[in-house]
């Protein structure tokens, strides 16, 4: 086995572990641990796609959580407000679609003083169970969320074209804050801080290989998020190895030099924003359906800082390092929540606070001592450790052939 094969073998072990983990882990805290794992996969998608954007492409955007929110809110609003009905309500906004009516429910928010229920609920109470209304499929909402993420990615990509470095970071930070403010203030539609409820990923449960899982069972969402992570990593890896990956790295290094060598920097910069935004939106949409509620707090700068920190600690220039790091850090942050007493002095250590101190310290140490994180240099050691020796050997051969000539 050569040194270069080590990361591949470790990758296979990690994948195998993640695939069998839910079947072999049987402790009492199973649902809690499964939740942490699912959240870990969610952050892994965000950090790896952000690593492609910032680490490979040099586009240091703070808008990634904004795209997550766009994906989540698009599917939430779609599932919350649109229904199919075989009968016209005559009180909602509705369109005839074949033999059905597409009903758009009126927003009543959480503070309406005149309405106690929306138009569809009112119609349903009149129908008294004689008409069956169908909610929109979750998968369609997720697809719309991803598409909307891509659309906003295109828009932001176009707007930030002339911006670089700190200006880009500030612009995208502003974008997320505007989005959060709009969602927070549009109480009638989004229910503001109260959050918008979403149907579960498998609202009616799901049967796999003859076994039925109800909607609260963590196993189906575990594999949905895991496969979404695998899919995103697969796409990101393929892109990184293609000319797209080469060009965006050239873009990161020197945009003007890349353009002078024939690279259409505008096109690749926009493509980079669209692809990574769609991944963030997909993660947001799936995770929102898993959690069952989305609120503007999910878009807070603190959440974005967490994603950036995870990527920086693990290694911003390697999508796999970023993904692995996100899962480990999410798991560590959650397990460090348990406070404890120091026996001799009788002081309680509040780990809900101290875990963040430890996280912050780790971030500072990483930034100071290892610019490309902790995990990425280990992978690089195995993949590129032989390069220096090869260079020296080739140099010696070339020198000796020159001497003999």
């Amino acid at each position: 086995m050569s040194k270069q094969q080590v990361p591949l073998i470790v990758g296979v072990i990690i994948i195998s572990f993640l695939m069998i983990f839910p079947f072999v882990y049987t402790a009492n805290n199973y649902p809690y641990v499964m939740h942490i794992m699912i959240a870990g996969f969610f952050y892994a998608i965000l950090t790896s796609s952000w690593s492609m954007l910032a680490g490979y492409g040099g586009q240091f955007s703070f808008g990634h959580m904004g795209f997550t929110g766009i994906g989540a809110y698009t599917t939430a609003l779609f599932c919350h407000y649109i229904y199919l009905s075989p009968e016209a309500t005559n009180i909602c906004t509705e369109f005839s679609v074949g033999s059905q009516y597409l009903v758009i429910v009126n927003p009543i928010g959480i503070t309406s003083s005149t309405l106690v229920q929306d138009c569809l609920r009112e119609a349903m109470s009149i129908w008294d169970g004689s008409v069956k209304v169908t909610p929109m499929p979750v998968w369609l909402g997720i697809i719309l969320g991803i598409a909307m993420g891509g659309l906003f990615g295109l828009l932001i990509g176009l707007l930030v074209l002339p911006l670089r470095a700190a200006y880009l970071a500030l612009f995208t930070l502003g974008f997320t804050e505007i989005l959060r403010a709009v969602i927070s203030s549009e109480l009638d539609i989004t229910r503001g801080q109260a959050g918008l409820e979403l149907p579960k990923l498998f609202e009616n449960g799901i049967t796999i290989f003859g076994r039925h899982f109800d909607k609260t069972d963590p196993l189906p969402p575990y594999f949905v998020m895991l496969f979404l992570l695998f899919f995103c990593l697969g796409v990101l890896y393929w892109l990184a190895q293609s000319k797209f990956g080469l060009f965006i790295r050239a873009l990161r290094e020197d945009q003007d030099a890349a353009a002078a060598l024939g690279v259409n920097t505008t096109k690749y910069k926009i493509m980079l924003f669209v692809i990574t935004s769609m991944m963030a939106a997909a993660a947001g949409a799936f995770f929102a359906h898993y959690i069952g509620i989305i609120s503007p707090n999910n878009l807070m700068i603190l959440q974005m800082s967490l994603v950036v920190s995870m990527a920086v600690i693990a290694g911003i220039e390697n999508i796999f390092a970023a993904a692995i790091g996100a899962i480990i850090i999410e798991f560590t942050l959650e397990t460090l929540r348990t406070s404890f007493d120091v026996p001799l002095i009788g002081v309680e250590v509040d780990m809900t606070v101290w875990r963040l101190v430890i996280f912050g310290a780790l971030l500072m140490i990483t930034l100071r001592l290892s610019r490309n994180g902790i995990i990425a240099p280990i992978i690089n050691y195995f993949l590129r450790g032989h390069v220096a020796d090869e260079t020296v050997a080739k140099r010696k051969v070339s020198d000796s052939s020159e001497e003999s000539a």
Partner: protein, 243 residues
């Protein structure tokens, strides 16, 4: 047949007239020196020719196609390549990856292995083939200049602008750059060589363009330009100024 036609090119930055109607033509694989004192407008002219800066007026045609309003990547694809005064290699990419960027950007229909072979040939010519898997940041300043020249070979343009290729380069590497210029030129590429090293300019170039404060004050053979009083004045100053 290479044909670069620059006509009445003007560029102002605010009230500063950096190019004041520069016109010249290149027909065929000429090796031309572009000289002038600091602030003469040489780099601005280069930036306008490669599309990084748009001129206020005037036109540039390459091979019959107007290129002065195109983006830099389009200009490169039309066949005009350049190096930069300060070397701009892709530092956190390997030497081989640096060479692959222009080859893939041109989309000439070459397979990866064909591009690899071409890149290896270029690296061997530049005597840095042993560094192919090293990151560009680990190369010396001179080797990075060679890498920049290698990228141009991969781009295979009709016209190359070399901006100060000899600055800060070891004599041994300078020899390689000399060979590079001669080979590329012999292969049918026109070269515009910008340098303050007059020995190199006079020994390599058959034609010189002299810029001074945005004006093209001379265009001719090295012997003619060397004895042109306007050029001597631009470089050494007039007797009046000395007084």
């Amino acid at each position: 047949m290479i044909n670069l036609v620059v006509k009445d090119l003007k560029k102002n930055f605010g009230g500063l007239h950096v190019l004041k109607g520069v016109s010249f033509e290149i027909n065929g694989p000429e090796l031309i020196g572009l000289i002038g004192p600091n602030g003469a407008g040489k780099t601005t002219l280069t930036n306008v020719l490669d599309g990084a800066i748009k001129p206020n007026s005037g036109t540039v045609y390459l091979g019959g196609n107007r290129i002065d309003q195109l983006q830099p990547f389009e200009v490169a694809r039309h066949g005009l390549g350049r190096t930069f005064q300060v070397t701009r290699s892709f530092r956190r990419m390997t030497v081989l990856e640096n060479l692959m960027v222009p080859a893939l950007a041109l989309d000439q229909g070459l397979s990866r292995s064909e591009i690899d072979d071409k890149a290896m040939e270029v690296l061997e010519f530049l005597t840095v083939e042993h560094l192919r898997n090293e990151y560009a940041k680990s190369l010396s300043g001179g080797q990075q200049k060679l890498l920049e020249l290698g990228r141009l070979l991969m781009l295979n343009p009709d016209v190359i602008i070399l901006d100060e290729p000899f600055a800060g380069v070891h004599p041994k590497l300078m020899e390689i750059i000399y060979k590079y210029i001669e080979r590329v030129n012999n292969d049918g590429t026109a070269i515009i060589l910008i340098s303050h090293q007059m020995d190199s300019i006079f020994s390599l170039c058959k034609r010189l363009l002299v810029l001074n404060y945005g004006d093209l004050i001379a265009d001719g053979t090295p012997d003619v330009v060397k004895n042109d009083p306007t050029v001597i004045e631009a470089y050494l100053g007039s007797d009046d100024e000395e007084d």
